[in-house]
């Protein structure tokens, strides 16, 4: 037996390119459905884990999926905006702790998440270096953002304008990095966290400019009517918040009317959660409340259906591949007719010749399946990191 296996090995080694192609095809066709299954399973777990850790989300009426994707993963377009008064309303209801989120702006490709310090406690985010933000204009970076930008405490990051042509809109704000988070292997690693008010500064709703009573600003004043001063565009607006100018930043109008994208509501207990959900059932209600786990499960249901189709398609490809492999083996037998005849003529036993030919096929099949198994193991082992990189990257 070992002699025929040796001959089979020599044949496969001699025709190494053909063997590699056959083994590679069989590996891929075996691995793809299994690997896809593993990756989809892991992706589903990855997606639902964060959704399940977020009890309730409240936002303006619109797409629940957009609200969930934006608030949980800082992906997707900004949903319809609600106002800060909604957070106040939840707080005053005594049913849940509200954590407001304003996910709209970016610094380069990284989302800027305006929130409160409670968000860090809620998500269990720890500071790796520096400290949490304390005053307007400070930010804390997720670990991946810090690594990719190559910045840390003491450095600055600048918000990106929403549109280069939006001259009257959002101006870049230079923010001071005061801390970097420990990796959490979630979407938080890719975000820049600022106080909610800082996002309003980025939007221009809270702003700071030179003192209009100062003599150097006099040239810009157009009109004075009591406390109201009308100035022209020559008045200097600050695009960085420093200890020297922080006091000049001020709100126009009441904070309760300022925009936010969502509120994470953490009910004090299950009953409170149920009551809170009931309050958003009214037809004239302008806000919606969603359970992120339910929304993500619906999305996963769609993904899993797609997976079924993909697996079915892969099975057809597998059948075609196996048929092609069988054809290759048959053609190979035909090409080796003379060799088989020679072995028969000199006295090779049918068993040995049959074993030789069969062991080559079995070796290719076994190598393909083993490699597919190895790839599956690697996927199980490192798939989650791969998924994080792909989903959150």
């Amino acid at each position: 037996m070992k002699d025929t296996l040796y001959l089979a090995w020599r044949y496969l080694a001699h025709h190494r390119i053909k063997t590699a192609i056959l083994v590679g095809s069989l590996t891929l066709i075996t691995f793809l459905p299994v690997g896809l299954n593993v990756i989809v399973g892991q992706s589903a777990r990855e997606l639902t884990a964060r959704a399940e850790a977020t009890p309730l989300l409240i936002g303006a009426k619109g797409s629940p999926l957009e609200l969930a994707l934006n608030s949980l993963y800082f992906e997707s377009d900004t949903p319809e905006l609600t106002t800060y008064s909604e957070a106040v309303r939840i707080e005053e209801s005594g049913l849940a702790k509200p954590i407001p989120l304003y996910v709209r702006f970016q610094s380069r490709e990284s989302p800027i998440v305006g929130t409160t310090l409670e968000y860090f406690d809620f998500r269990g985010l720890e500071i790796a270096s520096g400290r949490r933000m304390a005053v307007l204009g400070e930010c804390v970076l997720g670990s991946r953002v810090a690594a990719s930008m190559g910045v840390g405490p003491g450095d600055t990051v600048i918000s990106s304008p929403e549109s280069v042509f939006d001259l009257a809109g959002v101006y870049p704000l230079k923010m001071q990095v005061v801390g970097v988070l420990e990796p959490s292997y979630t979407a938080d690693d890719g975000a820049i966290f600022v106080d909610l008010k800082t996002t309003w500064v980025i939007q221009g709703l809270v702003h700071g400019h030179q003192d209009m009573d100062a003599p150097e600003a006099a040239a810009g004043v157009l009109k004075r009517e009591g406390d109201t001063i009308t100035a022209n565009a020559s008045v200097v607006q600050y695009n960085e918040i420093t200890p020297d100018n922080v006091d000049s930043f001020h709100f126009h109008g009441g904070m309760s009317g300022y925009p936010i994208s969502a509120i994470i509501a953490v009910p004090h207990d299950q009953k409170s959660g149920t009551i809170l959900m009931g309050r958003y059932e009214a037809d004239d209600e302008v806000s919606q409340i969603v359970q992120p786990a339910t929304v993500m499960n619906e999305l996963l249901g769609t993904i899993l259906t797609i997976r079924e189709f993909v697996v079915a398609a892969l099975l057809l490809v597998a059948i075609a591949t196996l048929a092609t492999a069988a054809l290759v083996f048959l053609l190979s037998l035909r090409l080796r007719r003379r060799e088989i005849d020679t072995m028969s003529k000199i006295g090779g036993s049918r068993l040995s010749i049959g074993t030789l030919l069969a062991s080559e096929i079995v070796a290719v099949l076994v190598a393909g399946v083993l490699l597919a198994g190895l790839l599956t193991l690697l996927t199980v082992q490192f798939g989650e990191e791969l998924i994080r990189a792909l989903l959150l990257g």
Partner: protein, 253 residues
């Protein structure tokens, strides 16, 4: 009462018998292929042990077919072919193969080497494809010695595709001689060789046959070589171009 026939004697090591029993004994042999062409009829033919015989005759006259019948690769429709005291047509296919690999060394015109093996592995091939031969250290040593004797000792690790025609035929001869068979059957062993290699390969075969007392039967078209043989059989006498159907056509075993 049923009589058990002992077929195992051919598995014993060969020792030339002093009685000079015939190595090949053919009587009233008839053979034709199912697709027709010619019919072979050999009324009587004997080849002594240790004899060197050349078979000549026109192409397609059945010379190679006769060697295939002697080797048990094909079975006759009628008549008897006794090879080394054994009627091969009475043996099962597996026993015929076992007999062949131990008792007959075959040399082909086209060498028929396995191109994915190196020189040594090609020489050792018979020991790898039939369990009745045991590949051990002694056999490996014999293979190395044969290669050395044939002047290819320094090329045993080389792939056979990288050998000259003469070297390839020497490898094929080594393969045929490795099991030290009492009978050597060669089909045009020098047909693809230049004059120098032609003489060299024939020298090797003849020297081996003489030293071991083996029988050498060679099919050849090369009349320059005939002087090296003790007997020449012209195949014209056994050849019938317009055969009458006498028996069922043969199938390869």
């Amino acid at each position: 009462m049923m009589e058990w026939i002992d077929y195992t004697f051919f598995l014993r090591p060969y020792a030339p018998t002093p009685l000079r029993l015939p190595m090949i004994s053919i009587s009233d042999l008839r053979f034709r292929y199912s697709q027709g062409g010619f019919a072979l009829h050999v009324p009587q033919l004997e080849v002594e042990s240790g004899e060197r015989v050349a078979i000549i005759g026109p192409s397609g006259s059945g010379k190679t077919t006769l060697l295939n019948l002697v080797a048990g690769i094909r079975s006759p429709q009628s008549g008897r072919v006794i090879t080394n005291q054994m009627d091969l047509s009475e043996l099962a296919d597996s026993s015929r193969r076992d007999f062949r690999i131990r008792n007959i060394g075959l040399v082909f015109q086209e060498f028929e080497l396995l191109e994915y093996l190196n020189v040594l592995d090609n020489i050792l091939l018979p020991y790898r494809i039939n369990g009745s031969l045991e590949l051990n250290k002694k056999v490996r040593q014999r293979a190395a010695e044969l290669a050395e004797m044939m002047g290819i000792g320094d090329k045993v690790s080389r792939n056979v595709r990288r050998l000259s025609q003469g070297e390839k035929q020497r490898v094929a001869v080594c393969r045929a001689l490795l099991a030290e068979p009492p009978l050597l059957l060669a089909v045009e062993p020098t047909g693809n060789l230049d004059p120098t290699n032609k003489d060299k390969v024939l020298d090797i075969l003849v020297e081996y046959a003489d030293s071991k007392g083996s029988t050498l039967v060679t099919v050849t078209h090369d009349h320059d070589l005939l002087s090296r043989f003790q007997r020449i059989i012209d195949f014209k006498q056994f050849y019938d171009l317009d055969p009458k159907p006498e028996a069922a056509p043969s199938k390869a075993p």
